[in-house]
Amino acid sequence: MSTNTPYTTIIGLEVHVQLMTRTKLFCGCSTKFGGAPNTQVCPTCLGLPGSLPVMNRQAFDLALRAALALECTIAPFTKWDRKNYFYPDLPKGYQISQFDLPFSSDGFLEVVDPKGAFEPRRVGIVRVHLEEDAGKSMHDDAAGTGDTRIDLNRAGTPLCEIVTQPDLRSPQEARAWLNELKLLLVYLGVSDCNMQEGSLRVDANVNLHIPVPATAGAEARIAKTPIVEIKNMNSFRSVERALTYEAARQWEEWQATKAEMGKTPKQTRGWDDPAGITRAQRHKEESSDYRYFPEPDLVPVTVTAERIQSIRGGMGEPPVSLRKTLASQWQISAYDADVLVNQGRELVDYFEDLATRVGEGKVASNWMQQDVLRILNETNGTVSAFPVRPAGLADLIGRVKKGDFDTSRAREIFAEMVTSGRPVDDVVAGMGISAVSDDDVIALCRELLAANPKIVADVKSGKEQAAAGLIGQAKKKNANVNPGKVRAICLDLIREMG
């Protein structure tokens, strides 16, 4: 928690993620993003009279995968319910969702900050359930008609709703936890979690717990401000900003009104990103009565232990254990493992390939962190499109280890490999770099020692660092010499002089 505030911020999140299925939850229409409006629709997702839903088993399996990775308990028997409300992008007048018997509940996901900005936080998951998405309404004010246009391509897309306990204690934690959740779901292949395309949406519930000191008439207690639900946040950064703003706003309001939870209804506020503030929304939504009841057009779903087993089997390693695996298998620091894993599965695959070829995790990890990742960040590139593949980089690292060139020379070569996409030897030839033979280095060193008696004397008197002066001169005479080698040979020669 923030130690410098006179209150504790209590945050719970409600996350909706679109599952990466080819087809919708209850019909065979494509879930592909970006199609022309109303081209990925059929009688079922249009809610035409007489149409019926049929459950997409792949969606259910993906949702099971997410719930298992979130350590949830899977219900052996689950059913569908109708959530009734009227809205133009909801063509049936109800959403097929899960109400009192969600397919999973009671899990957790831990978030650890490698830099220790906050204590490791285990965030409880109240439930994970599956439901269908609505379509999109677009208010067409520009045309001057005030018409609303409806695109139902998204209607019926499978959504997983993940509801957390109010376990988060700061906006930074909330953002970090969301990053961890996204990473997990992307690793699992459950969702692409693309917020721009709406495949991940977050609402946050926040209030403050404020210690109230004892007074003459009352004992010390914790006052709780009314819970506010924040909507319309379109990035994790917005979530952090909105929560920060909202905590400060609630603190001010508390000082002014002393209003506590339960005395006023839960409020919904929308995040206005450009203005950087939350604004109260109309109270209408809270008073909605969704008249949930069991969906009679679908049959209940039973989940067997075998099915859970088979989904667990095909799940792949989640980030939390992959970090540990990398650290122990390749002898790299927890911090380095964290950086690699947080970049996603593809980068980890690249690293493991590289480390295997190089035969040394630490060296491979250093190259990943200092070079590959730096360039990816600078160029905004993806590892899958990175021009230097693990084999090429391993080749370069091998040459450095052999002593063909020093690390800074290798960096220049690497930069050229990235730009040109050509292998080490081509680049080396192109840059006029040629490996210097050991005999040449020895000859050069003898020459330098003869010309620098002062340095030789200093080294002899125990100041080995004086040898650095020789390296600069060596590089001037031959740019391709390996400084480490020059140093080692010079020291050997001085020792031989006795």
Binding site: M55, N84, R291, F293, P296
Partner: protein, 512 residues
């Protein structure tokens, strides 16, 4: 014998043997519809052109030696609750006036593949809600046996068109008795199959957990023939049963020796018309003469059937009918000034006439204009019963009672093979007689709702006539998937009686 008087089984045979062409057959029935529908109002749409084209195609294929379906050339009328890609589908509601679905219901597709010829769409109570067909937005159907009386409902048009020889077969749907009750009041045979036996895909939903499609025809044998085409698993309906379809027509011709038929004493309590009671008792005697034995059975929770049904069905209906909001299809109220379809828009009570937004105005006015009073009543009942604070007292309790009712049936079927009794407490009542009293109207389903709540099958067929010449219906109910036994018993009864062969005198010559 004239085609109009032939059974569906005989017609199919005559068509197959070339005694009559499909075009001739279709023409006979289409002419009959043209002559008669004015006084009966059984059809909301007649597709003369489409039917004749289809019949000509079948004739051509048959002539060319190409394969034709098992029902090739048989005229079939479809209740207007079934989606048809080539005819309007309105549910007898102003809300869907002129609506054309882009697809065929599963049953319609199956009948098409079997080369049935659709003559038109039949009138019904709006969205299948009603027991008299007076709730149609397009005028009531008249009972062919007495044009001043109701045909029953909600499949009143389907029942009346078969009774009046406008089609040898019609397809109906039954949520609380909507096939069996009008079949009983119109003197025809109607089968409500086990829930899930026939796919509901493309059946416009009234109450999803209760709706079931079934055949309405002149005899059990004709119903058996149709069932072979329409029954079967549909992967597009999650509630449809993945159970093989038996050859019903081969199974029905068996004696009833040893078949145990249950009789529920409460069915004969006060309220049952004495003439109906007499007809029903005589039907039991016929079945006994055929070898069956009759035993008293108890359905202890049957008395809760009507209240249970009138909670569950409206609850589901309130949700199923939410889609008719004017936004996407169907009736939309003319937009007011400054119309803007945005729920989150600012209040504009002045220009929107007191509605909280123009969108809400569109919803309210479209639904107010598009739905009739009974549909509104049930939407309100269901909305209320599902509301927070009422759910447990109404809907949840109704579901518990429903389970008890189903258990009653399953228990009873431990000791008997079928349960027999009246379909309705009275013969066909006068048009307008119950329209001012919704509760009295709800009681017309008294003997039929249990079948739907239990999810089992039932059949209704004529077992006599009142002195004034109105048909009396007999109902048999059976355990899940025992349609072959239902059809066998009804067929056996019809081999020993001729009630099902009687034709309404009022209709002779096609005039009232």
């Amino acid at each position: 014998m004239q085609p109009l008087e032939m059974s569906a089984v005989d017609l199919v045979a005559a068509l197959r043997q070339g005694d009559i062409t499909a075009v001739e057959c279709a023409t006979v029935f289409l002419d009959r519809i043209e002559a008669t529908n004015g006084s009966i109002n059984a059809f909301l749409a007649v597709d003369r052109e489409g039917a004749l084209a289809r019949a000509a195609d079948i004739d051509a294929r048959r002539k060319a030696g190409k394969p034709v379906g098992p029902l090739a050339g048989l005229p079939v009328a479809l209740k207007d609750v079934l989606c048809t890609a080539d005819m309007p589908t309105t549910c007898a509601s102003k809300m869907l006036a002129g609506f054309r679905p882009p697809y065929d219901a599963d049953v319609v597709a199956r009948l098409r593949r079997a080369d049935a010829v659709f003559v038109g769409k039949t009138n019904m109570d709006e969205f299948a809600m009603g027991g008299s067909n007076e709730n149609s937005a397009f005028g009531p159907v008249r009972n062919p046996w007495d044009l001043s009386r109701a045909p029953g409902g909600s499949s009143g048009g389907s029942a009346a068109c078969v009774a009046a020889d406008m089609a040898p077969v019609a397809i109906g749907s039954d949520t609380g008795g909507s096939i069996r009750q009008p079949a009983g009041l119109c003197g025809i045979t109607g089968l409500k199959p086990t829930y899930g036996r026939v796919s509901r895909r493309g059946l416009i939903a009234f109450a999803s957990s209760l709706d079931q499609i079934g055949p309405m025809a002149r005899s059990a044998a004709d119903c058996a023939l149709i069932m072979e085409t329409i029954a079967g698993h549909d992967p597009g309906d999650s509630t449809s049963l993945a159970v093989d379809v038996p050859r019903y027509t081969d199974l029905i011709d068996k004696p009833l020796t040893g078949v145990r038929i249950g009789r529920v004493p409460e069915h004969f309590a006060a309220g049952l018309d004495p003439e109906v009671a007499k007809g029903v008792e005589e039907a039991f005697a016929v079945l006994m003469a055929a070898g069956a034995t009759v035993h008293d059975v108890q359905l202890p929770h049957a008395k809760y059937g009507i209240p249970t049904y009138y909670l569950i069905a409206p609850c589901e209906a309130s949700s199923n009918l939410a889609r008719y909001d004017g936004a996407h299809y169907g009736h939309r109220a003319e937009p007011g000034k400054g119309h803007r379809a945005e729920a989150g828009g600012q209040r504009s009570a002045g220009q929107a006439g007191g509605f909280e937004s123009p969108l809400v105005e569109m919803y309210c006015r479209s639904r107010a204009e598009g739905f009739g009073p009974e549909v509104k009543r049930r939407i309100m009942l269901g909305t209320y019963a599902l509301s927070a604070g009422y759910y447990d007292a109404y809907y949840a309790k109704a579901l518990r009672v429903r389970r008890l009712i189903r258990q009653d049936y399953l228990d009873a079927f431990q000791t008997v093979d079928l349960i027999g009794g009246p379909v309705s407490a009275t013969p066909a009542f006068k048009l307008g007689e119950k329209t001012d009293d919704p509760l009295a109207m709800y009681l017309v389903d008294l003997y039929t709702v249990g079948t739907n709540l239990a999810g089992v099958g039932g059949i209704s067929f004529p077992c006599g006539f009142t002195k004034s010449g109105l048909p009396i219906g007999f109902q048999l109910q059976a355990p899940p998937l025992a349609e072959p036994l239902l059809l066998q018993a009804a067929d056996r009864f019809q081999r020993l009686t001729d009630w099902h062969r009687r034709r309404p005198q009022a209709m002779e010559g096609g005039k009232a």
